[in-house]
């Protein structure tokens, strides 16, 4: 008996110690949710159509090159809509060669002959849904990298809803919504393109001549720093894109003492960059961010693997641009569907009053239990305290976030925990009234009440698991705290409580129980 008690005591002490260790210091370990701490909540729709557009553009480009290589003559490749290309004027004698070329190199496309040298290519439905999934997954990954760099603790970035193209972003404790939105939503597609001409209007740029093939007109800021619209005629194929970057960081332009962003290139891009810059010394190289020319420095000498992006950046803007470049471009644009900010002060207000209220409530419960059950009440209070300790320790261990719904879970745990003790104590009283000695009464009560507590806790646990499975956000928060609480409750109410009784009664002949 004594030996038995000793290992039980050791187990309980070990659990207690582990719990204290795991959640100390509490301010660092317990994460507060958006509703308590304040922060930003965004739901965004990924415009997966963008990715389809990009795929279509790319296919159009590659198809043109392949047809040239195979010497299949054609008039034009037009984009009908996203995921649909029309090729016109294909040489009639090359029909089968055309079909073979498309079928071998463009597996995701369905090829349809429209007659008279006209062909239609359509992106397959199956490929579309794969593309959609990949786009969303990639967008989540990109956003995650960007948010990580902001240093937000415990961000939530996850697919959302049933439509398969929504993303939920939660940034607890972050209150600069404009900055967060800018950082998350900017596509950050970086391209370095050679400049062929520039001017204040498109007319001035072209001077009545037709636009040269392989070029594109982009707007941007004038080098003089004016605010007027300014246009650049740039080559369609970029020298460098965001994918070629190895790293990007905020730095300082030592001449003007203004913040800028410097980047380094991956080795294979570096040699290409060196070749291109050497061949084009004296020409302008436009730095294009999201189809907007940020700056267009003149190439002074061959550049190997480093470059700088200057612009009228503030320190923060430069910082954010570096983050965006490091994390890569978003595969598609994002559209905000829902946004919500909780001011940290409002959150702090409600948590302060919530904590005060909970403590007052808990104190009332403790006082009553001590008053009503006397010494046995001490037992209940110890069990209750340990229950709460295990609960918070587990929350800290799983880095769960405490939210208002989570607090509902804690209150329910305390309620059910107190209930377990009340059940046992009332049963002990009943048994003693029927004439049993304290020891046999305790033993009988725990035996009988075990299945009640087991069934009650397990029913709620089953419900909690289902809630976690099918619920979102607050419902899940409730389910997590409740599940942990119910399990720890079974341990404290049945095992710890029983141990305390046994420990107090061990080796003594007790006539009455303070209950």
């Amino acid at each position: 008996m004594r030996k038995n008690l000793r290992w039980k005591a050791a187990l309980i002490l070990a659990v207690t110690g582990l719990c204290v260790w795991s959640f100390y210091p509490p301010e660092e370990k317990i994460k507060l949710g958006l509703d308590l701490k304040g922060g930003i909540h965004l739901i965004m729709k990924v415009n997966t159509e963008d990715a389809l557009n990009a795929v279509t553009d790319e296919a159009s480009e590659i198809l043109g090159q392949s047809l040239d290589e195979e010497s299949i003559a054609f008039d034009a490749i037009e984009k009908e809509e996203a995921g649909k290309l029309r090729v016109t004027g294909v040489d009639g004698t090359k029909d089968s060669a055309f079909r073979t070329l498309v079928e071998t190199n463009f597996g995701s496309w369905e090829v349809l002959a429209r007659g008279g040298g006209q062909w239609e290519l359509e992106y397959r439905q199956a490929a579309r849904s794969i593309l959609r999934e990949e786009t969303v997954a990639q967008a989540i990954e990109t956003i995650r990298r960007r948010v990580d760099e902001l240093g937000v603790a415990e961000p939530v970035i996850a697919p959302h809803g049933d439509s398969g193209n929504q993303i939920l972003v939660q940034l607890p404790g972050f209150d600069d919504i404009e900055r967060a939105k800018g950082l998350i939503r900017e596509t950050a597609k970086l391209e370095l393109r050679l400049v062929q001409g520039r001017g204040f209007s498109e007319d001035q740029l072209l001077g009545g001549r037709p636009q040269p093939p392989g070029t594109e007109i982009l707007s941007g800021i004038a080098e003089t720093g004016g605010t007027d619209k300014y246009y650049y005629l740039v080559e369609r194929v970029p020298v460098i894109t965001g994918r070629d970057l190895k790293n990007a960081r905020r730095s300082l332009d030592y001449d003007t003492n203004t913040p800028n962003v410097s980047f380094t290139l991956k080795p294979e891009a570096a040699s290409r960059f060196q070749r291109e810059t050497r061949a084009n010394i004296g020409r302008q190289l436009a730095i294009v961010l999201d189809n907007n020319v940020v700056s267009a420095p003149v190439i002074q000498s061959a550049i190997y693997d480093q470059g700088q992006i200057t612009g009228n950046f503030t320190v923060e803007e430069a910082q954010d641009l570096a983050i965006k470049l490091r994390s890569g471009a978003l595969p598609a644009s994002l559209e905000y569907q829902e946004e919500r900010t909780v001011g940290p002060s409002l959150g702090a207000d409600s948590i302060r009053s919530g904590v005060t209220a909970s403590l007052v409530g808990l104190a009332a419960v403790v006082l009553f239990v001590l008053f009503y059950y006397r010494l046995s009440g001490v037992n209940a209070v110890i069990a209750l305290a340990l229950n709460v300790l295990i609960l918070v320790a587990a929350l800290a261990y799983f880095s769960a976030t405490l939210t208002l719904p989570g607090i509902a879970g804690v209150i329910l745990t305390i309620g059910v925990g107190v209930d377990a003790n009340v059940l046992i104590f009332e049963r002990i009283k009943e048994e003693m009234r029927s004439g049993k000695t304290p020891r046999t009464a305790i033993s009988a009560s725990f035996g009988k009440v075990f299945w009640t507590i087991f069934d009650a806790n397990l029913t709620s646990l089953v419900a909690a698991v289902i809630l976690f499975q099918f619920g979102t956000g607050p419902v899940q928060g409730f389910a997590v705290t409740l599940s942990i609480g119910l399990l720890s409750n079974m341990f404290t109410a049945i095992f710890v409580s029983r141990f305390i009784f046994d420990f107090v009664l061990s080796g003594r002949q007790v006539e009455a129980l303070s209950i």
């Binding site: 409600s350 029913t459 709620s460």
Partner: protein, 321 residues
Amino acid sequence: MDFIGDTSIDWLKYRWYFIAFSLIVASIGVLDIARKGGLRYGIDFSEGTIVYPRFEKTPQIEEIRRVLSNAGIGEAVIQRYDREEMNLVMIRVERRGDDTVELDATATRILDALRNNLPDNELVDVSTEIVGPVVGETLRRQARNATLFAMGAMLLYIGFRFEPIYGVGATVAVFHDVVLTLGLVSVFNHEISLNIIAAFLFLVGYSVNDTIVIFDRVRENRQLARRTSLREIMNLSINQTLRRTILTSGLTFFAVVALYALGGEVLRGFSFVLVTGIIIGTYSSIAIASPIVLWWRRYRDRPASQRRKAKTKPEERAARV
């Protein structure tokens, strides 16, 4: 120490009063919801536009209301939002059209009206919240489905651990609690927010815990006294656990009343559901769950007892009820 002595109340005798009482409370709630045109959903679920303009100086709510109704946005809910600075106001307009485009336009209209008509009090900061129809509806559906699935799982578990009808009794009691509390939420003009959903989950958990304690006692007593009628066993079990029921509910009640009284405005609706949930959850375990089980037993056993009429002795038959 005992506050409450042993009781021998014939609870099941009053079951018709309980049912009538529940029906009345439920009807009041349902009628109130119908009268108000459905439950009032809070910011989390409302489909609409919310604008938070922060003014340079403390604005007059009446003035903002006048400006907005002149601009044709008379149905807006206007509240002061920030307690410390007093310059932040919340303006909420429920969705009327079908698309999000209109929601965006509403925000612009509100801001234009404020900028143009309150020249001596400039807007220093503005944030808007726009909740599209899809988002609000998805949240609502998910919360509802999760709760229904969870209740289904409880039904199965209790049905498996006790008998199927006990699962039904407990689940109906929980459903009863949810309906009554929803009605009261409407009567007392609380909004359904995400936090209130969590409070409802608390209610479900609490109610079922209470019911199981009584059912468990019934299970135990039935093994001890096989000859006693189910009705007597139920009354006995309720009375035996009554002290525990009152103590537990009372203690939990203490804690949540403190939350209601001291928790502040943000927690008001949340703790309201906790408080009413404890009362109704405790009541339904006694007044709804047990009568259902008893009814089913009587219904199921009736044909059998009639068939056995000839063979069974009268006193035995009486004892079965």
